[in-house]
């Protein structure tokens, strides 16, 4: 009881000090929004969020995809070769779920392509498109239309790392011509951002779906 009381008091003190720190902050010491709007025309896209993510702060996005790739490599390393035996299709295959998946998955692919294309000028982008594609893959697996992945083959490995590799190549390219890392050549920003985003969504969908489809599927589950 005393412990619970101590935790509650500690939480309250922490919340109060957080609130005090927030209130004592200077109001907007940097006008980042204004700076983004001023330079938006040079970024190659018209949506400020995409401009920040893939042009002004492209470094962060590059590291983000690297982190996701590392996470998947970690999962593969931990799970090891124990389940090299190919797994069958998910057992709980229900006709209703299957026919629903057959209707919904093409729509999800369409939505993903729209999100990718819309990213340049309105909310959307590679991460959302990749997540929708990955959800379509997981839905297919749960409906019993797609088998779980056993060991990653060469093509799958290539697909998983393609987004990161494309991003790194495009980021390094200006270094050869005396530019800075991630400095898109003038006039090319728009096309390069679309190329990066397409690669990112493709690899992200494989990475996110892989975290699900590569989880160990024990035989006990097949009996359920």
């Amino acid at each position: 009881m005393i412990l619970v009381l101590a935790v509650v008091i500690a939480c309250a003190v922490f919340a109060l000090s957080l609130g005090r720190a927030m209130l004592s902050l200077d109001p907007a010491p940097l006008r980042l929004a204004g700076q983004v709007t001023e330079r938006l025309e040079e970024s190659g896209v018209t949506h400020p969020v995409t401009a920040v993510l893939l042009n002004f702060r492209g470094y962060d996005t590059l590291l983000e995809i690297a982190v996701l790739l590392l996470a998947l490599l970690g999962i593969l390393a931990v799970s090891g070769n124990e389940r090299s035996a190919p797994h069958g299709i998910a057992a709980a295959a229900q006709p209703l779920l299957q026919s629903l998946a057959r209707i919904v998955v093409p729509l999800m692919v369409l939505v993903a392509i729209y999100l990718l294309w819309a990213g340049a000028h309105r909310p959307g982008g590679a991460f959302q498109a990749g997540a929708v594609l990955a959800s379509a893959g997981i839905l297919l697996y749960l409906a019993g239309l797609l088998p779980a992945w056993s060991a990653p083959g060469f093509r799958l490995r290539l697909g998983i790392s393609a987004g990161f590799l494309v991003f790194v190549v495009i980021a390094m390219m200006p270094l050869l011509f005396g530019g800075a890392l991630l400095q898109y050549p003038a006039g090319w920003a728009s096309a390069l951002i679309v190329a990066i985003e397409a690669g990112l969504s493709f690899s992200l969908s494989l990475i996110l779906a892989g975290q699900f489809l590569w989880l160990p599927n024990e035989d006990e589950e097949a009996e359920e």
Partner: protein
């Protein structure tokens, strides 16, 4: 006025689902409450005029993480069933 009432309700529901997700004993219920929390959070981002984050939260936070957690609960139950008779 309606908007304010909706926001207050949303904030209350967020805190409620977060507390319930952490305190409920059954893991399956906790995961469902986590998904509910994620969807409410997406709604909150949309109310804050951040549709990009709302999309990401709905797709990754609620959808994919929820599916992963549900899968984990399934595995834990399968393991438990295997261990119990021995």
């Amino acid at each position: 006025m309606t908007a304010l009432a909706f926001d207050l309700l949303l904030a209350l529901a967020l805190v409620w689902s977060a507390v319930r997700a952490l305190t409920v004993r059954d893991l399956f219920h906790a995961v469902i409450l986590f998904i509910v929390f994620g969807l409410l959070m997406a709604l909150a981002w949309a109310r804050l005029d951040a549709p990009d984050i709302a999309l990401a939260e709905a797709a990754i936070g609620a959808g994919l993480s929820g599916a992963l957690l549900l899968d984990t609960v399934g595995h834990l139950r399968a393991c438990g069933r295997k261990d119990r008779p021995s």
